[in-house]
Subunit: 447 residues, 2 copies
């Protein structure tokens, strides 16, 4: 028997996605005698719960994103590939993907874990995307940060009072955790950080609007916490509009219940749609497009294909599992353990069961609403618990230290970690300007 | 006399550029009874001497760039505007600029300070730029970081040995401080940081080439330091090609002295060209395009217009002043002091005199070559001096702490601050792939 035959006996495991689910699966397979290939479209594992802090310039991208290969550097059975999966062939058991410079690369598998997450959904209005970017990855966060910071820069140079007001109106569509966290963080940014830095921008003239169809903010939280969050938002100067749909989003702002709110900065914090994993597999999905999985997170008739996290649809106690990080982490870990058991011949775990540790949302600095089991908490103490939990879950020790120091610094001084506008939109270019008042002519006078 | 008339009596000072020169001028005007407007194309003051560390992912952009308005937040006489200057009218004394959303905004001045720096120059070969990006601002640094990190990602997925080798060949054109620092930093990146993280990339197969027309590296340093730097570069595995020009740069690599070096990553660290300030003013420039200034850094016949830093051309002791940060800082400070004296009626300083504190360049971790007066040093002690000096010159205390901790961390562990590939080049898209092997067909088999 030669080397190649020996290699063939080692099972090949392909994991698609380096988010919470995929990384948990890879880590659970650390001691498995297998060749693991993790494929992701980016080179980093993103700690999404803190993404809104990058968008509001508290943290830098590097503080919440760890190179996947750095996280797995000591796991010798794992290879990390930067690539975008385009198809899965269930019969031949191969994954097809594109790398930066090659299309249609194939990777065979014996076990496949799909943990491909979600993107935003504009509920049938794809035309909104251009005017109301969503917040899912680092590029989104940096783009939104540019947009928010640029608005203040524009306002400082704008003398027309109406335009000045429109530029300083921020609208967030969707009052779930992301919308609430973004709205309150913008409120804090204005009041704490930017106050002393502008000469023509009056912080009290900044308007932040949070709008949702639902009757309350943080709809998945207990009612008392929704109320606490709303009160806190209003204390921070955020205008909360509930039970009202957005009819229109365009370059001049939004139309809510027939009334236009002029705004240059609209941010989409509402719906999500799953990745195309269901299409790749050509299997049954739920109405939202998530792959229906069995109790062991495998696809029916394909016990070698696992789907975990936001990409999967599974009911527990007659309720669908929510699209939160914990479901992905626990699902990924479960899939890893089950594959390990199959590879090594150990006894497999029972069906997957999600253990709900609770939910938290930040509403401005030093205030968190927290629900865990029957415990409901809001305020500063909940914020401390939130901070500890989030620090613990960061993927690298250096990130934990760095984010901790940054939070202490920002809390004490109000100063932020990263207020850079990089690659901002181009300036109103000179073509237009020179045609009206040629620069040449200006200079010509002095020639 | 009404308010407006009162305001008119306060002199208006416009500073163009928030780099070393512009910021030094603004700070020197802190106690001047004047209305100061600082206009910059970016919202941040960049600490350029550490830019190569962002490009090689030691530091994050936020660690070396401070929002200009944060630096000047307590200086109540100063307003910061994000805008791109397009023209200067010397007779009417106005500056014309574009903001993000408006073209042709005007700002009148009584005193004008131009500190607009340099861009790269491709010595009459603008077509090189597409294949060999230069390193001047944060966007450049992030683009080069993406390029370098992406090369390793491509190599990990590439099985063809020739392509694998070409992808892992890095060529730096220009062996001045930036070229030397970049080349050695890539060497360290490969040997220290990436070694344990790839399964198919062999660090010893990575080739770094540093090329220059000049007969030695660091041509502006004393000869003994050039030799020390070269030895150190070669210890780090960098191939140094001197006295040889680059004939050609294209997507397949470079041609040096008739011989092609196949490379996917060529970086331009050679020439610089001044900003168009000379054209705005329509005044005499030197051959390089820098504005010829008088001994008090003003433009002939226009004692109210100052040009400082890399934008200005001035001889001292029959030698032109070099394009380094210290010349810009001292020049900006001088211009500020002179304007202050004129505004307050104090006695003006004598002609500008640059005090040369010396030069330093980093050659890999823990090794610096340093010249100050007649002192020449190379090695670890010089590196400590370099580190202290550079920390002291960072614009904000939070940056000093953050960079210090990062350096200690990187020195001890070899791990880097920011290895993120954000907004990388698009993947080889599916159009091409699907036309050969339609994804549909792949899926169809299982339908």
């Amino acid at each position: 028997m030669n080397n190649t035959d020996l290699q063939k006996q080692i099972p090949r495991i392909v994991i698609v996605g380096g988010g919470f689910g995929g990384l948990a699966a890879a880590k659970a397979l650390k001691h498995t005698p297998a060749r693991i290939t993790l494929i992701d479209r980016t080179n980093h594992h993103l700690f999404q719960p803190l993404l809104y802090q990058v968008a509001t310039s508290v943290l830098t991208p590097g503080q919440i994103a760890a190179p996947i290969r750095e996280v797995l550097r000591n796991q010798q059975n794992s290879t990390v590939i930067l690539g975008e999966v385009t198809a899965v062939d269930k019969e031949q058991r191969i994954v097809r993907f594109d790398t930066i410079d090659r299309a249609g690369v194939v990777e065979p598998y014996d076990y496949l874990v799909l943990a491909t997450g979600v993107r935003h959904s504009y509920f049938g209005h794809p035309e909104f995307e251009k005017f109301a970017p969503g917040l899912k990855n680092l590029a989104d966060a940096v783009a939104i940060r540019n947009k928010i910071l640029s608005a203040f820069e524009q306002a400082e140079a704008e003398e027309d009072p109406k335009k000045h007001r429109d530029i300083l109106t921020f609208v967030l569509v969707g009052a779930g955790p992301t919308g609430v966290e973004m709205a309150s963080a913008i409120g804090v940014l204005v009041r704490k950080t930017l106050r002393s830095e502008f000469r023509r921008v009056d912080p009290s003239s900044v308007r932040v609007v949070l709008v949702d169809m639902a009757p309350r903010v943080l709809g998945t939280f207990p009612q008392e916490l929704s109320f606490a969050a709303r009160r806190r938002l209003e204390d921070l100067g955020v205008q909360v509009l509930l039970g009202q749909g957005v009819d229109q989003i365009d370059e001049d702002g939004v139309v809510i219940a027939g009334e236009r709110i002029a705004s240059k900065t609209v941010i989409w914090t509402a719906g999500v749609a799953p990745s195309p994993a269901g299409k790749w597999l050509n299997v049954e999905t739920d109405r939202a497009g998530r792959v229906k999985v069995r109790a062991d997170l495998t696809v029916p008739c394909h016990p070698e294909i696992f789907v975990v996290g936001d990409t999967a649809s599974l009911d527990q106690d007659a309720k669908p599992l929510p699209g939160v990080a914990q479901v992905a982490i626990q699902g990924g870990r479960y899939a890893g353990k089950l594959i390990h058991a199959r590879v090594t011949g150990a006894s497999p775990p029972g069906p997957f069961r999600y253990f709900d540790k609770g939910n938290m949302a930040v509403v401005g600095q030093g205030f968190v609403v927290l629900q865990s089991g029957k415990l409901c908490l809001s305020g500063f103490f909940a914020w401390l618990m939130w901070a500890v939990v989030h620090l613990c879950f960061l993927a690298l020790f250096s990130m934990q230290v760095s984010v901790f120091l940054q939070w202490v610094w920002t809390y004490l001084t109000g100063r932020r970690g990263s207020r850079l506008i990089v690659n901002h939109e181009p300036f109103s270019r000179a073509e237009q300007h020179t045609s009206q008042q040629p620069a040449k002519e200006l200079l010509g006078k002095n020639a």
